[in-house]
């Protein structure tokens, strides 16, 4: 092992999990030399560490950061595909492709994720109900296996390695470079409609009937209000703006794109953090009031529409020393009663913070550990320091699993092995292929150990 490994304490984005690993940055070419001969603590590749829990940690083992060159973006404009190193961030990629009239097929709520992390977590976006998750758009990738060999994976070539790696949380090998399909865009702006819904039933009804006509759809739910206002929310629907949608003055430079970070949170936030119940309630009230009952066709930039949080650097520190967890689960269609029950429990707990997002998923894909399937997914931030956190989430876990739902591995920092076995019935199938690709179990992570993913 080369000497440029240095011990480093790694955390998830929620800052509520941590362990120390020996970390090195390696080039795509050299990575083959770094995956072999792992000891029993194993090796793992880490992207930009935007998973909230321990997915990109490997306590006591080795962790690789993949140095992909952002200048090495191969865009095939005719085919509408791009080939990039897996260490390239969506931020870097968008700066190249947006001005040339393309957008990523799926984007999370931040552009600071790597392409490798997007594949490994099989991420979803606001267009899941129509266009599926990231894996649906991947044409091929190369995978560095534990013995240092490189496997070419696609739907035709080594399809089981392909599907096991998508959503496989880095445990099958190192994804080295990826080719995936893009969305063609005429402008770098989005056209957004907002609908305000006065209660939970109205929100569910609106989403159930109107979603399929729009590419992007997501709702923000106010979890801090009870009574008649219970479950009120704002539904945001949009698509990429056409050139004609823009004011005439903007049409000449319709694809201009230059996202900026406005401020950054300092490393140390005193006390319990500034996101508390009071500021959250005020925030929710203002945000809800701000939206008119219905507004159509407002034009927003890509950063403002897709990545509003990226305007504030290191915003995760706002939760203070204990950090936070992002609890994200899925409940199948037809179990809206349970969804409502969970929302009520979260409201009653008074723990929730403003970032509560409800999304309707469409059909899932063939990856055994992919999170999305038809149903509702709710995402809520909860402070990790709260004494009642675990009792709340354990109760919610039971409701989610009894209803046939599951939790998102890229966010999870709380579950135990049983919950994954119930939520992901195809785990054994995934394990069988994983073990074939990596019989010595070189690839390991804190997430895998906590959830017993290899056992």
């Amino acid at each position: 092992m080369s000497p440029d490994y240095a011990p480093e304490v790694l955390r998830g984005w929620g800052l509520s999990t941590m362990s120390s690993a020996r970390v090195a940055t390696v080039s795509e070419r050299d990575v083959v030399d770094h995956v072999k001969d792992a000891d029993e603590r194993g090796v793992l590749v880490r992207g930009l560490g935007r998973s909230y829990g321990d997915a990109a940690q490997n306590g006591g083992g080795r962790v690789l950061r993949l140095a992909s060159s952002p200048s090495d973006v191969r865009l095939d404009e005719a085919a509408g595909t791009v080939t990039v190193g897996a260490g390239v961030s969506l931020d870097d990629l968008l700066r190249v492709i947006v001005p040339r009239g393309f957008f990523v097929p799926v984007t999370p709520g931040t552009r600071f994720v790597t392409v490798g992390g997007a594949v490994a977590a099989d991420i979803h976006g606001k267009n899941h109900h129509l266009e599926g998750s990231f894996g649906n758009h991947v044409r091929r990738f190369s995978l560095v296996l534990a013995d240092g060999s490189v496997l070419e994976c696609s739907r035709e070539q080594n399809p089981d390695a392909f599907w096991t790696t998508i959503g496989g949380m880095g445990l099958t090998g190192v994804i080295r470079d990826v080719t995936f399909g893009l969305i063609r865009i005429e402008t770098s702006r989005c056209r957004v409609d907002t609908v305000r819904c006065d209660d939970f039933d109205e929100l569910i009804e609106q989403m159930s009937t109107g979603d399929d006509d729009v590419r992007y759809s997501v709702a923000w739910v106010d979890l801090l209000s009870g009574g008649a206002r219970f479950g009120r929310g704002v539904l945001w629907r949009g698509d990429h703006a056409r050139r004609d949608d823009l004011p005439v003055a903007d049409r000449a430079d319709a694809l201009a794109y230059g996202p900026r970070q406005l401020v950054s949170v300092p490393p140390v936030v005193p006390g319990p953090g500034v996101v508390n119940a009071l500021s959250s309630a005020v925030f929710n009230e203002l945000w809800f009031r701000k939206e008119p009952r219905r507004r159509e066709g407002s034009i927003k930039s890509i950063p403002a529409y897709f990545h509003p949080l990226d305007a504030v650097g290191s915003w995760n520190r706002l939760y203070g020393g204990h950090g936070f967890v992002q609890y994200q689960f899925l409940i199948p269609f037809g179990r809206e009663t349970e969804l409502r029950l969970i929302v009520e429990a979260i409201v009653a707990s008074r723990l929730a913070t403003p970032l509560v997002v409800l999304k309707r998923f469409g059909v899932g894909n063939d990856a055994p550990l992919s999170f999305p399937m038809p149903g509702w997914t709710l995402t809520v931030d909860l402070p990790a320091g709260a004494a009642t956190l675990a009792s709340l989430t354990h109760a919610l876990d039971d409701i989610v699993l009894d209803a046939g739902g599951r939790h998102y591995l890229a966010k999870d920092a709380l579950l135990g092995p049983d919950a994954i076995r119930v939520g992901y019935p195809r785990l054994a199938e995934w394990q069988a292929v994983r073990d074939r690709l990596d019989p010595q179990r070189n690839f390991r992570s804190d997430l895998a150990r906590r959830l017993g993913l290899m056992e």
Binding site: P7, E8, V9, G12, G14, S16, T17, M18, S19, S20, A21, R41, G53, D54, N58, G59, G60, G61, G321, H322, G323, V325, A384, G385, L389, A390, T393, H394, A413, L414, L415, G416, D418, D446, R449, R450
Partner: protein, 251 residues
């Protein structure tokens, strides 16, 4: 590993029959906790039944603080059997009879071996495996008796003073390793150790010490006093002039 709520999967109590140690394990155990190991001199008599519940394996194994030559292999065997140690509680200790030590210095040395040498040895063994796993929390039962050692229990107090200092420094040595050490400084606790003794001011219970310990663990603290007021009491006591200190009725 501890999950985001600070819940461990595997807990080990060294001095597994200790009232305080068991109370801490009980308070730490969560739905996702897989195993608790009580390591003590008489495993048959260990209070395993009080901790058992479905899905949680509770086991008592043989461990003696004075058999320092076995400590490293003992800790390795725990890891081999249960996987990573998330929280280890070092709870063993003896109070001894100070009145006897004047005539029996060997007994005093034996007490030092249990409370200090044995603790240092097992702490180093724990630190070694936790450094290897890149995470873990060690809870050390120190005592206010080590804050300023009194003549009335000077051997016990001195072992705790040594243990306290060692544990804090061990914690400092582990900063980049992902491992943390929490030093617990209880006052008088109503437990087997103090049975039949008259309670000192601010007397507390094993459960109260456990609550304070678990809170401090979650908060990532290095030191916790139980009850918390003792921190301020000892800020004063530490600086009392010697003649006054000697005459204090602290039991």
């Amino acid at each position: 590993m501890l999950n985001a709520a600070g819940e461990p999967q595997n807990i080990v109590v060294l001095g597994g029959s200790s009232d305080i140690g068991v109370a801490i394990a009980r308070r730490l155990a969560a739905p996702s906790t897989k195993s608790i190991v009580l390591a003590c001199r008489r495993p048959d008599e260990a209070p395993v039944d009080g901790l058992r519940r479905p899905g949680l394996e509770v086991q008592a194994v043989s461990f003696d603080a004075v058999r320092v030559e076995h400590h490293a292999s003992f800790v390795d065997s725990l890891v081999a059997a249960h996987g990573d140690i998330d929280v280890a509680v070092v709870a063993f200790g003896q109070l001894g009879e100070q009145s006897r030590f004047g005539d029996d210095p060997v007994a005093a040395a034996d007490l030092v071996t249990v409370n200090f040498a044995g603790a240092v040895s097992v702490l180093l063994a724990l630190a070694r495996v936790m450094r290897r796993q890149g995470h873990g929390r060690i809870v050390v039962l120190s005592s206010v008796a080590g804050e300023r050692v009194r003549p009335a229990n000077m051997v016990y107090g001195a072992t705790k003073a040594g243990l306290d200092g060692f544990s804090l420094a061990l914690g400092d040595s582990l900063v980049t390793s992902g491992v943390g050490v929490l030093v617990v400084r209880p006052g008088f606790v109503r437990s087997a150790m103090t049975q039949g003794m008259e309670a000192a001011p601010f007397a507390t219970t094993p459960d109260a010490v456990a609550d304070a310990t678990v809170k401090a663990l979650r908060a990532g603290r290095r030191i916790v006093w139980a009850p918390g007021i003792l921190r301020y009491v000892f800020m004063v006591l530490r600086h009392l002039p010697a003649p006054l200190w000697r005459r204090l009725p602290l039991g």
